[in-house]
Subunit: 758 residues, 2 copies
Amino acid sequence: MSAEATAPSAGTPATSPAATSEPTALPPIDLRPLFAPRSIAVVGASARGGIAETVANNLRVMGSKTRCHFVNPRYDELYGQPCYPSLEALPEVPDTVMVAVNPLRATAVVEDAAHAGVPAVVIPGGGVVEGGEAAAAMQREVAEIARRHGIALLGPNCMGMVDLTTNAATYIGDINPWQPRGGIAGIAQSGSVTDAFIHAGNRIGFSRIIGCGSEVVLDACDFLAYCLDDPETHAVILFLEGFKRPERFLALADRALELGKPVMVLKVGRSSQAQAAAIAHSGSLAGEDRATDVALRAAGVIRCDDLDELLETAELVEGTRRLGRRVGRGRTGVITVSTGEASLIADLAPRTGVDLPPVPDAARRELLERLPTLGYIGNPLDPWGATDPTTAYGAAFDAFAGSGAYDVLALVHDFPYRSLASEVETAREVTAELIRVTAGHDDLLPVYVSLTSGDPTPETKQQLDEAGGIPMLRGTVEAFRAIASLSEWERSRDRRLADGPRRPGWPALAADPTPWGHEPGSRRDPATAGGAGSASLHSTAALSERDSLALLAGAGIPVTPARPASDADAAVAAAADLGYPVAVKLDAAGLAHKSDAGRVRLDLADEETLRRAAAELLAIGERLASDGPDVRGLLVEPMAAPGLELIVGLTRDPQVGPVVLVGLGGILAEALDDVVLGLAPVGRDEALAMLARLRGARLLDGVRGRLPIARGAVADILVGVGRLGIERPEIEAIDLNPVIASATGAIAVDALVVIAAS
Amino acid sequence: MSAEATAPSAGTPATSPAATSEPTALPPIDLRPLFAPRSIAVVGASARGGIAETVANNLRVMGSKTRCHFVNPRYDELYGQPCYPSLEALPEVPDTVMVAVNPLRATAVVEDAAHAGVPAVVIPGGGVVEGGEAAAAMQREVAEIARRHGIALLGPNCMGMVDLTTNAATYIGDINPWQPRGGIAGIAQSGSVTDAFIHAGNRIGFSRIIGCGSEVVLDACDFLAYCLDDPETHAVILFLEGFKRPERFLALADRALELGKPVMVLKVGRSSQAQAAAIAHSGSLAGEDRATDVALRAAGVIRCDDLDELLETAELVEGTRRLGRRVGRGRTGVITVSTGEASLIADLAPRTGVDLPPVPDAARRELLERLPTLGYIGNPLDPWGATDPTTAYGAAFDAFAGSGAYDVLALVHDFPYRSLASEVETAREVTAELIRVTAGHDDLLPVYVSLTSGDPTPETKQQLDEAGGIPMLRGTVEAFRAIASLSEWERSRDRRLADGPRRPGWPALAADPTPWGHEPGSRRDPATAGGAGSASLHSTAALSERDSLALLAGAGIPVTPARPASDADAAVAAAADLGYPVAVKLDAAGLAHKSDAGRVRLDLADEETLRRAAAELLAIGERLASDGPDVRGLLVEPMAAPGLELIVGLTRDPQVGPVVLVGLGGILAEALDDVVLGLAPVGRDEALAMLARLRGARLLDGVRGRLPIARGAVADILVGVGRLGIERPEIEAIDLNPVIASATGAIAVDALVVIAAS
């Protein structure tokens, strides 16, 4: 159920995340009292049920050793326990105070807790009036008190948390007695998704589930950092509506990658509708999704599209850990029980990014020898009916496993739930062969996949558990996506171990013990975290074309040679040096939209046309100069040889910092929005991969008799632009439009660099 | 489990589906003895279990009144019943014979059945040796006997069938005692998918489930026709690997549309891997998937991508029938329990084609009045926590229902299974409000959707059942796709009732009582059903440019005016009439690839360049003529005014007949493969919709200061080309490349028409 509410009002002081306030001497916050409380006090406990009864009941259901005290001056006893008039009256200082009064009166409780030396407070949701100045004031007040006293404050407006490693819970929903325990930590900015994790049944085992609430002090980053430090947590799944501190999140993701703990994120807000909902409700602004996506992937985060995919990916992650095996390159061999279903699986595969390599010849021969009646041999393979199931499936698994062509061996069964004894027995026989064969191949990851969604037969689940915990994945698409994602993650991890962090500052940022202390204020305020908002907060200036070209040339990026000329005579002299035809441009600083056709003249073939163009541009320049722009004169450039036009750019995203982009230029870019992004800095291989991901990438190979362009030369420009984004933080944006690429090289013929003016 | 096998060998005589053989006087086939057998005889019944035991057990489990006899000369008694030495010895002529001997010996059993006057035979799979000449011979033999005697033959190599309307089954897998009954017929060309339908649990209720097997006599079309005639069947789901008679399938789909019985198809074979598997295993060839897809949609078929989507769409179809309501325009209002989940739902929606219109102002005001604490109002809406659930959800449903903005009101809950009493109770309260509100709005379809996959709480299912059977859909994506698909189906049905069938021949083809009789031989033989195969079977001829242009002009399609010229002088005279610049082409019949640059000269500005070009082309013509093509001389055409280049074409698909296509011309088509197809004939609205579906459709609106093109003029060309495809069956293909479109019109400046030569 939803518990988040109480958005900070528009009156909350806006603070730019970039502009750090003077660090104050705030005490450090220890999260252990929050997640491993020896005792919990519910303040505002009521005889009419609610939080007090739920918390006490959950602790009982879990068999927890955490002591639970009730505080309310109106009762002497509650639920068969003493009830105390105040925190001071308790027999001990509790590790955590749960606020059970109306949240609008939470400030007094937090004040009392601070006074009593309580190290952790949870302010749950429930019955909260959404929005409103009173709620916003309460949030500011409790945040201030908690920061001042170093209190680990969870909430307000959260579901609380369940910690299955310490057997403690400050959760305001009911917990299942049989809640499965495991190595996955779940963190959700949505109360109902927190609850959905609790109720995900036996799909995965959790170490800890945390509902973030309004995050006025502790946020998802702090919880992620805590979980990464926890030896019992092997991976983290997060449901996010927005980032308070995107750079710190990326740094923590990088740390997780280094530690080998996969981080899986379902971040909502891709649609504008979703963004509107997120802004209004919890004050989150989802930011520019494309840039976020690129940044998360660059930091090694596995991004999932829905809850099913999130949970199945987590199950695969846990499975690899249980078995001590890797997904490797993710090359998957699929054995199934039907040719029709094999066709369906082959149809579904391209949507998922999984690689289903064909059966190598040797394996094919082996199969034909052992199963001479097998009609068709392929991947997916259906050996059903070739002979008895054990022999047929044994032969199929053996041949695939021995071929060396696969990293993952998947048994795909159709509807997983089988009610008939005969079918349960057949499933057992077939599954036993998967287990037998993969036991002998350490380099092969076995997975059991149900073709469709639905709960599996308990017998099969038990059989897989007894074989060391072979992952059981529900749904072919989810399973294949999980395999492809985890394979990409393993590659990212290998690169991380070999090359270090993508951005040099990340390790320090991830290790910062009190990062929250330097960023008071709500990061979810649209005014501070917004896409366009940030750029508009501090002023920027467009360099002139000449300065832009010079800056880029200085960074080793090939640019068109440009000669300054103050008048037509100088322009003619420059053209004589360069050779006709030439282009002439009005060179001015402070003008963003240089592509205005009025300020560029192309293809000037001789002195006469050049003189005419120069005169026109200088006249335009005089008019412009009176409006503010700093007109510097003319630039004369040689006309570039024809080639493929590309756009290369850099933008400093307010959430994730500098991002490089490349697109096809001209009419294609306008018609198709065919642009690929990369988190700066980008390496050369990544730059080449970006080019390959363009929808119109075929054009790079030359169509209609053209030669393929020199992709490496374009990649070098992307690398150089990305490096500028990191090394020159004052650069807000770069536009190279167009870059003209030919078979022998690439050159920027028009450049605009925007820098922060302050 | 898979049961299909025994592909027809390459030796099967190939017969083109287009070339009908002389109709022979074959007896009609009655399918009732197959689906409503009063008695079944299992021939080859064994004491060691197998088919005999399963069939008898299934009939017992179903409480069937169908009598079951055993035939085997080796036993006097089996499973407590008498066993007879032969069919003749039975106390009655059974309606259906089940073949339980080794299928390779099936011919003798079918011969005996024919001799005994048995009207239906089922030859199941199981233990069949795949492929091989013996199996192919058996298939030919039993088909021939069945045709000659009018026997309804199901199989060979099938799972059999379960008919829940007649309470009979000739099924070789085990049936659940609680198999839910309903109005959906399931037909599958895959044995394991047939079985998957049986084991889909309580997701939908079936009238009948049929596993097609090898389809040597009866095929999916015959079963579809039978189900459409059955008053207890309201909709049909099909799992198809290939079409034996695509045109008849389309005709039957059109009939179903007329009858108002939705047909939902999961057709595999989209990927080349899937096509390879299908070819090899059952002899199916999946055909050109894009053309098939377009044809199916044009005939009103709902196409699904996976089994989950197929079942959920069927559940929605049944739900609308149970409630007597429509999906209408499919505008869906979503009420959920969490803002985070609302964001997720908004993110998922664009993948599905569902329309989630914003909340109208009046509804917004009503909501704020009744729920003043509600922070954010949007669609999806999360009213959780605004006050108690009944009041909050009641107000939300009321406001959405009364707004007139929605056709469907969806309650989206997260994980559907709730084990805790408190949550079951909350779900009950919220669901009760959905039921209460929609009971008062006949024009609104209520649906209950689980955000993720998984089985629902039985209490909720019962509550929805008691409210008249409100559909319960598993998975947001599946549910939204189902809503979008059914909305499109309702539009198709309205159009069908208003405009009649898409192709005039369909009603007769659908009504043909013995269509199987005219098409002996296996339609799944790649040689007869293949994509490119058919065209290569009969020879074709390319008309000359002049003849092509004349044919098109005769059909009212605007083409460039072209003047024939036998020599340079005549060309110059023609150019003087037309005005320079002109284009000149070599006009020759029998040359398919006219776009060869060598045979066209463009932009000839004056007499001198025209004479030179004419001389060159005539020289080329002389060389070509000696190789066979019929060179007619030159064509002189005016240069078209510049505009947007498009490709328009017609191809006669071997499976679905004439198909119109349109694409962006020039470099875009080559780089992006941006082509949209439509089943001929296409109406003007459909032609406009095709243009809108181009990925680069933005170019049609004019970029870089160009005017938007006259879409209507291009649409008229598509309509004209489609009509030619229907009216002139000898036309195999048309290429108009390019069609040049401007703000005022569109004209084909190059044309190629290919006709069947025979």
